[in-house]
Amino acid sequence: MKILVAVKRVVDFNVKVRVKADGTGVETANVKMSMNPFDEIALEEAVRMKEAGTATEIVAVSCGIAACQETLRTALAIGADRAILVQTDVELQPLAVAKLLKGLVQKESPKLVILGKQAIDDDSNQTGQMLAALLGWSQATFASKVKMSSDAAEVTREVDGGLETIGIKLPAVVTTDLRLNEPRYVTLPNIMKAKKKQLETLTPDALGVDVKPRLSTLKVVEPAKRKAGIKVPDAKALVDKLRNEAKVI
């Protein structure tokens, strides 16, 4: 079984983002970029499936600027067999990415596509669901456990209030939640090996996809800062403040 894993290049989760002074976005120049953490989990899951003998080939794909090649090289070092970049300088929104991924699915015919549930930059949480819709495939979002069989999968999902398990027919799209697995660290020998793996580059035009953004960003601002409050010496003083000053109890 072939698995396609989509990975996104985002500002590293440890970076404290700064809004640009002109309000057009956040500062990304000279900022550490990494693979979206949820996509790392997606890739790890695929690699484990290959190690377990369920998967035969893992193709990592990414959409965006030329620098996304670095993210794909990381994916190859983690264990993807080859990689495809759909390269464009246009700002890509989830619907456009879903359309590009659909084009890649038609080209590659995987039986399973795994993606992170959301990217930590735009926090949209849409691409996997949209891809499943465009393909007419089943979807299992926010997965914390995936049990594969030949033509179906049973997926446990993280939902408000607990867990839910659904059965899905393959082919399918699965999006990952945090507890699905703990991604491995990339080792130096694997980084070296990844350099020799195939990385193909395509354009949106080659896939016949119009990636024009549907949302225009009018401005980006910093949220109102919360004022730091006061320190109180003990529990007694705290209860007094909560009762008589904040009046919340």
Binding site: D121, Q129, K169, V220, P223, A246
Partner: protein, 311 residues
């Protein structure tokens, strides 16, 4: 202009998140319809009809619509969405699962997790874990929107008398089926609607130690939450997680115990009305957002706090 709100319900009644989504629809303006889709959910449709400000309830009842399977509900949504300028859903795991699928079928770019309405086509939404707010304008004919429920005060659950209209359900797509659900049983209020929340972090040290938070939560009638660090460490289940990758909450009172205040946690609770932090590290970032902080050993302070609250 008419707007459609996808209701969240348990077949008997609608969930509160629906009332927040209706409130967002009111901010946009126009005639508001609510879709109640499910199996044997006519009671939920009746409660939806009482919601203030709702003009019409669309009730679609069929076995394949039970259990909120995204494939079938998205197919229904998109079949009726062309009658609407806006389709809204609460930004819950259910809304987030279903709405993007419907939006893609309608060839529209969804706008996720809005926190404010600037104009019928212009909305404010948090990005980068709430460290920035983007104002975005949609050029799509139908605006598919998920609503950050904590950003809109719920409309009244009663006072309305909407017409209930039956809508036929599309055929079962047969793509997925419901297997089972493990819902954490708790006498406590639900995290996202609780008036008070007591959360523990890595500083709790173990899952067992969370027990010392229980009497505190009891006396405050609070829900219990946790930081991602506590969840990752296996102390408590993931549905307790408050933060960018968990639940977004905004209670009147948020008590953070042994939580350092990572960006990703602050993203989930910084809109709480009053924040209390208890942490042994006086440099912990949580104190920068807390209204009241106590520096000290949580294992001493929490029991003292419970005693003080009894007085």
């Amino acid at each position: 202009m008419s707007l459609l709100v996808l209701a969240e319900h348990d077949n008997k009644s609608i969930r509160k998140a629906t009332l927040n989504a209706v409130a967002a629809a009111q901010k946009i303006g126009g005639e508001i319809h609510v879709l109640v889709a499910g199996h044997q959910c006519s009671d939920a449709a009746k409660t939806a009809a009482q919601v203030a400000g709702v003009a019409k309830v669309l009730h679609s009842d069929a076995p394949q619509l039970g259990e909120e399977l995204a494939e079938n509900i998205a197919a229904l949504l998109v079949s009726i969405s062309k009658n609407y300028s806006h389709v809204l859903a609460p930004g819950t795991t259910t809304g987030k699962n279903i709405l993007p699928r419907a939006a893609a079928l309608a060839d529209c770019q969804q706008i996720s997790d809005i926190v404010a309405v600037e104009a019928p086509d212009t909305f404010v939404r948090p990005i980068y874990a709430g460290n920035a707010l983007a104002t975005v304008k949609s050029s799509d004919p139908i605006k598919f929107i998920t609503v950050r429920t904590t950003a809109f005060d719920a409309v009244a659950a009663t006072g309305g008398s909407a017409l209930v209209e039956q809508v036929a359900a599309p055929a079962d797509t047969g793509l997925s089926r419901f297997v089972g659900r493990e819902v954490a049983k708790s006498e406590r209020p639900e995290l996202t609607s609780a008036r008070a929340i007591v959360s523990g972090g890595r500083g709790m040290g173990s899952g067992d130690n969370f027990k010392i938070l229980e009497p505190l939560a009891d006396s405050l009638k609070a829900a219990m939450g946790a930081s991602r660090a506590a969840v990752d460490a296996g102390f408590v289940p993931n549905d307790w997680q408050v933060g960018q990758t968990g639940k977004i909450v905004a209670p009147d009172l948020y008590v953070a115990v042994g939580i350092s205040g990572a960006i990703q946690h602050l993203a989930g609770m910084k809109d709480s009305r009053v924040i209390v932090a208890i942490n042994k590290d006086e440099e912990a970032p949580i104190f920068q957002v807390a209204d009241y902080g106590i520096v000290g050993d949580l294992f001493q302070i929490v029991p003292q706090l419970v005693e003080e609250l009894k007085k």
